[in-house]
Subunit: 174 residues, 6 copies
C-alpha cells in the first residue's frame, strides 16, 4: 500500500537543504504533503514571503527536478495547539507518516497516534532560511543556496528589496 | 509571456462539470490556480468534505488526465469581503486572469483591477454538486457524474455514509 | 473502571427534560461532563442566557438533587467542524461515551472513534427550551417546566424581562 | 455638564432620514457619537458600502450642514453580544445617552446601566436604506433621498455599478 | 446574603499553594468561581496542560478535600483587555468579590466597579507552577508539591513525558 | 484636485510631537485621515488607553486648534500583514498619500502602489509616548508634553492611576 509523508516548514525561503530533505523523504515514501507553516505571515523580517509566494517557489523547484507526487498546502498557525493536528488533517490530503525533528510537532502528532520519524539530515550550517535572508539583506551572494527556480521567484516578487527594507527595523509597524 | 488563471469553487464534490471547465481554461491559459473555497467547512449537508479531501479529489482527477501545470490552494471564507482579494492573492501563486460567473467574485476582482472572464460553460443541468450529494443521500447512481479518481476518494473517506447521516437532519448540532 | 459520559446541549434554559435525561445518564455512567454548547451566544431570542447564567442554572439544579459527580464546561461553537471534537476534548475532563441524538454530533464523534449512544428519551412535547421561552414571552405559566433552582436563577438575572423585550423583534440589532 | 449621545446605524447608505434624526438628537445633546455598525461588511446586497465609504458619506453630509460636534466610529459586529457594550465603550469617546428603537440594543445598554431613549422619528416610509438600494438597482431616481454630499460619494466610489452588479445574485460567492 | 468569590489562575499545574489559597478564600466566602485562565493554551513549555486536564485536576483535588461549593470555568485569553471583564462575567456564575494580586486584573475589575481583594498568601518559594514543571523536566521529586489527585491526573495524561519532550526546545514548532 | 493624507500612530497618548506633525501634514494636504493603530489594545503598560479614549484626545486637541478637515479612524492590528493595506482602505475615507517613517508601513503601502512620504520631523527626544507614560508613572511633570485637551481627557478617565498601577508589573495578568 502506498505511503504519504507529511513535512511542515516555514520555507522562508525554500532552499537547497529543504530540497535535499524532500529528495530523501521521496525515496522512502510514495507521496509527500508539504505543509507551508505560519501561512498567514509575510512582510516581516523572519517571514518575508507570503504563503502564495512560498507555494510558487516550492512548486517550481520540485517540478524543475521532475517531481510530481507532491501536494503543497498552506497551513496557518493556531495558538490553540490542542486542535492543531486536527486542523492539519482537515487541510491536507491523507498522510500516514510525519517527518519532524521539532519536539512540539513530534509530541502533538505522537499523542494523536501518528508514526513520527526524524527529518532526514542536510547541511544545516550551510543551508538555512536565516542565512539566506541575512545574505540578501547584507547584499552578499545568496542565489547558490537556493534552487534556481526559487531565485527566479524571489526576483520576480521584488523579494530582495522587500527583505532589505523591512530588515532595517525591528520596531512597531508605526 | 505565460498566463495563469484563477478559478475558485467549493467542489463539494469535484465533478465532471468542473473537469470540463478546467479543460477549457487550460486551453486558454498556461497554468491554473484552483482555489478551494469555503475551505474551513466540512461535515455539513452543503459542505460534506474537508478542504484536504477536496484537494485530494482534484489532484487525483487532474493527474489521472495527465495535467501538471496546476496549483491547488485551500482558501477560507472571510466575512470581510473588502480584504478578500488581498487574502486570495496572498495565499496563491501569482495569477493574471480570474474566471467566474458569480457577481460578487467578478465585482471584487474587477474593483481590484483584474481581468475577469466568464467561466467556460458546461452542462449544469446534469453536473452539479447538489445533484451528486442528493443522489448519494438517496442511494441513487452517482459515480458516473464524477471522475473515477473522485469516486475512489469519496469511498476511501467513507463519504457515502457521512453524507447520508448528516443529511438526515437540518437541525442544530445539538 | 469508571466511565464518564459527555452530554452537550444549549440549555436555553435548562429544563425538566434535561434533568430527566441527566438522571438516566448518571444511572449508566459514573460521571458526566455537561457541555454548554453555543457558549458565546446570549441576549438573542433563541439564546437569551449567557454561558455563565446557564452554568449557574445547571449547577444549582444538580446540587439541589444531591448530584456531585458532574463537570460543567462552556463550549463555544466553531464554524470549523473538522476540529470541533478536538476542541471539545481539550476543554473537558476525559470522557469515554458520547450521548447524542443529533446526526452531526454523532457523525463527528463516531469518525473520531468514540462510542456514541442515543440520548435517553424524555417527554419532548412537554419539555423544550423553545416552549419555555415562548411561555415566558407570552406571560404564561412556565415555572413548572424547569427545576426550582432554575426558576430562581431566571428571576435573579431578570430573565423574564430580557426574553420579553428581545422577543419583540427579529430585526437587526440596529 | 455637557451630554454626549450614542447613535448606531448601518447607514447603507446614509440618507435624509438619518440626517433628520441626527438633527433632532443634536438639539437634545451637546455632542453625538455616530457608530457605523456592521463595519466589517461591504460588497453584499444588504451592505454594499465599506465602513470607510460610509464614514466619508456621513462626515461630508454633516459638515455640509455646518455640524462639528460629532465623532464617527466604525464598530464591527460581534457574535458575542454579552461583551458588545464593552466593545462599543472601548471604541468610542465617552457617551452618556443611547438613542435606539431596537430591542436588542436597548436591552444590552439598559442592562449595562445606560439611559436609553427612543430614536427621534422620521418618515420611514420614504427614507430607508433598503429603498435607496432598490431604486439604485432598478435604475430609478434615488438622489433626492440622500444628502447631496452622499450622492457625490456614491458616484465617486462607483456605487451605482457596485449595487447593480452584486444585486443580480443572491447566491454564494462561487 | 451569600458571597461568591472569583479567583483566576493558569494552574499549570494546580499545586498545594493553590489549594491553600482556595481554602482561605472558602473561609471568607460561601462559594468560589475558579477561572482557568489562558484556557486555549497547552502543549507548550509554560502551559503544558489543556483546559480540560486542568479542570480535571482542580475538580478532583477539591472533591478529595470534601469541597462542593465551587464552579470551575475555563476562560480564554483575549488580547482586547477592555472587554475582558465582560467576557469573564458572561462565562461565569455571578460573583461579587475578586481575589487577585495582579495589577492588570485588579485594575480592570476595579474600573468595572468590583470589590477587589488581595489573594491570600501561601509559600510561593516552595509552591509554584514553574517549580513543578522544572522538577518534572529534570526528573526530580515533584509529587509532594501537588495534591495527590493532581499527581494522579498528570500521570494518567502522560504529563511527565509531555513536559519532558516539549521542554527540550524553545524553538518554533517547525 | 484635493489631496487627503493618511497618518497612522498608536497615540499612547497623543502628544505635542504628534500635534506638530499633523500641523505640517495639514500644510501639505487638504485633509488628513488619522488612523489610531493597535486599536484593540488598552490597559497594558505600552498601550494604556482605549481607542475611544485616544479618539477623544485627538479630536479635542485638533478642535481646540481650530482644525476641521480631519477623519479619525480606529484601526485594529492584524497579524496577516498581506491584507493590512486592504483593511486600512476599507475602514478609512479615501486617501492618496501615506506619511510614515516606519519601514513596514512604507513597504506595504509602496507594494500597493501608494505615494509614501516621510513623516514630518518633530523633536523626538522631547516628545514621545514612552516618555509621557514614564513621567506619569514616576510622578513627574508631564502635562507640558501634551495638548491641554489631552491632559484634560487623561485626568477624566483616571489615566494617571491606570498607568501607575499597571506599570508596577510586567507579569502575566494572573
Amino acid at each position: 500500500m502506498s505511503k504519504t509523508a507529511l513535512l511542515i516548514g516555514r520555507f522562508q525561503p525554500f532552499h537547497n537543504g529543504h530540497m535535499e530533505m524532500i529528495r530523501k523523504v521521496m525515496a522512502e515514501c510514495d507521496h509527500i504533503v508539504i505543509g507551508i507553516g505560519s501561512a498567514q505571515y509575510s512582510h516581516i523580517e523572519k517571514d518575508p514571503f507570503t504563503a502564495g509566494e512560498r507555494y510558487f517557489m516550492i512548486a517550481e523547484a520540485l517540478r524543475s527536478e521532475g517531481y510530481t507526487g507532491f501536494y503543497i498546502v498552506p497551513i496557518e498557525d493556531l495558538n490553540r495547539y490542542s486542535v492543531w493536528v486536527s486542523q492539519v488533517e482537515s487541510m491536507c490530503p491523507p498522510f500516514q507518516v510525519v517527518y519532524s525533528n521539532n519536539p512540539y510537532t513530534r509530541r502533538l502528532f505522537l499523542e494523536a497516534g501518528y508514526e513520527v520519524r526524524n527529518s532526514p539530515l542536510y547541511n544545516r550550517a550551510e543551508y538555512s532560511g536565516t542565512e539566506v535572508r541575512n545574505r540578501i539583506r547584507e547584499g552578499k551572494e545568496w542565489e547558490h543556496l537556493v534552487p534556481d527556480a526559487v531565485a527566479k521567484v524571489i526576483r520576480e516578487v521584488d523579494g530582495v528589496n522587500r527583505i532589505t527594507e523591512i530588515g532595517e527595523s525591528d520596531e512597531y509597524r508605526w
